[in-house]
């Protein structure tokens, strides 16, 4: 566990900053909800003036901004899923690559520690940080809800709306970790990882806008945890859940396999 503690020390500042910034954004958004709720009619009229594609892209056709969870799903959820995924993929893809990039891996692997154990402890750190990140944001959101004086928040749906992003973040972190175990140049690792996050987000937007492109929603992890679906069906689709768990399991297993056979070049 030496490596885990070391990584925790090394990464807690970034975790703290991301959490604080995200929590502040959430509270800011939630603070404008009361006005929204009051002037709901006027706002809905204004919305109808927006282009249809945009309304669809943001799922505003399925959700009501006058309802706190609907408002949360449209205004806040996007930030947690998108920005959180950026954090997750950066964390996942750098934690192993950093050692090779800064050439400290030669030090680490000359100590009595198995490569398998290096990966396990680093993956654990990623998972723990993401759980902390998502839990703290969920707590802040609950506090935020209580200020809106809207007492009918369905907590079981909110729990799903919190578990969804965590799963999504774990998927992207696992993908980033896998990429970092395959690709040798660290500059490319971050580029590819961020490319996957923004690329699949873009695909998700297209899938929402154009009905012909609906098949895209199976490619984009963002679609797996879509707020509108979660709120309307009160669940995360088992198929999507399975795909996400499989993605995490396969990426992780592949990372172990590849890294245990890799020549460490410095």
């Amino acid at each position: 566990m030496i490596l885990f503690y070391r990584e925790f020390k090394r990464n807690y500042k970034a975790l703290l900053i991301w959490t604080l910034v995200m929590a502040a954004l959430m509270l800011m958004m939630l603070s404008i909800y009361p006005q929204f709720a009051e002037q709901q009619e006027a706002i809905e009229q204004m919305m109808s003036a927006f282009p249809e594609a945009m309304i669809k892209a943001l799922n505003m056709d399925k959700l009501s901004m006058g309802d706190i969870l609907g408002f949360y799903a449209i205004e806040c959820y996007l930030m947690i899923t998108l920005f959180g995924s950026v954090y997750a993929v950066m964390l996942g893809s750098s934690i192993l690559a950093k050692e090779e990039n800064e050439r400290t891996i030669e030090f680490l692997l000359s100590k009595p520690i198995k490569r398998t154990s290096v990966i396990t402890q680093k993956l654990m750190l990623v998972a723990v940080n993401l759980v902390i990140f998502n839990s703290l944001i969920a707590v802040v959101n609950i506090i935020g809800f209580s200020f809106t004086k809207d007492n009918n928040v369905d907590m079981s749906i909110f729990a799903l709306l919190s578990a969804g992003p965590l799963l999504l973040h774990l998927v992207f972190a696992a993908l980033g970790f896998f990429i970092s175990s395959v690709v040798r140049k660290s500059r490319n690792i971050l580029a590819i990882s961020l490319g996957i996050v923004f690329g699949t987000y873009f695909l998700s937007l297209i899938a929402n806008m154009a009905e012909k492109m609906e098949f895209l929603k199976y490619i984009s992890p963002f679609q797996y945890v879509e707020a509108a679906d979660i709120i309307l069906t009160e669940s995360i689709k088992p198929l999507y859940l399975l795909v996400m768990l499989a993605l995490i399991a396969i990426s992780t297993a592949a990372s172990y396999y590849i890294y245990n056979r890799k020549d460490i070049s410095v």
């Binding site: 800064e102 000359s110 009595p112 460490i264």
Partner: protein
Amino acid sequence: MKAIDIKKLTKYYGRSKGIIDVSFSIDEGEIFGFIGPNGAGKSTTIRTLLNLIYPTSGSASIFGKDIVKDTEDIRRMIGYLPSEVHYYDDMRSKDLLSYSAAFYKKDCTKRITELAERLDLDLNKKIEDLSFGNRKKVGIIQALLHEPKLLILDEPTSGLDPLMQNIFFELLEEENKKGVTIFFSSHVLSEVQKMCGRVAIIKDGKLIKVESIENLTGNHFKNVTIAFKAADSDIDIDGIIKKEKKGNELKLLYKGESDKLIAELSRHQLKDLLIEEPTLEEIFLHYYE
């Protein structure tokens, strides 16, 4: 049991060769040198022993344990100093050394302070603020702190000033007296001569020879550069392997007794004289091939 036993070790990097069919062994308690020009395969061999890279074929064992299968056990018994030391930029020397010690589940605080005093290193400074030589000292302490049975040192003296090199060699001798086996690579023949009982010589990925230092230095190779006062002066005695004349200057590669050379030189009028050790490359070129 051999401290290190290498059998037909081969490593290819893709198509380019790293080392081919390298075999030699080191007894427990030996100080063994590993010399060769840059890029000859010294680091490749060492990094294979540590399982940082996987052998393409062949095998090696350290204290009877296989370098691939038992790498974790092996690493518990050895101290490794890489040729270039790179450490975490957020750590002070102190932090890095206690992090390193934690892996061996040993309390090494006393030894760390002792070694730091010997090497004159301030443990409270951030590693990234240290000079190259001081960073090397951190590397040396890191390799020694857990009292390993075998030290593997890759170009350990580069970056250390001559004074520090002496202290470092003293440290190594003390360790060796306690029974520690030392395997170190270098491209400087003289420092290997000073320390080692035997050396392995490697070139272009192939092991050329394993030789005791006595035999190697018994060869008495000298590079002699003579500037005569008279342009037509020349020297012709036994033991001159290569001769190159340019104006008043004569360059010799000489292998033989110093007395004879000096007797011959005294018969000429000299402007200048330089007698030096030949570089490894010259020895390779004129002796081993």
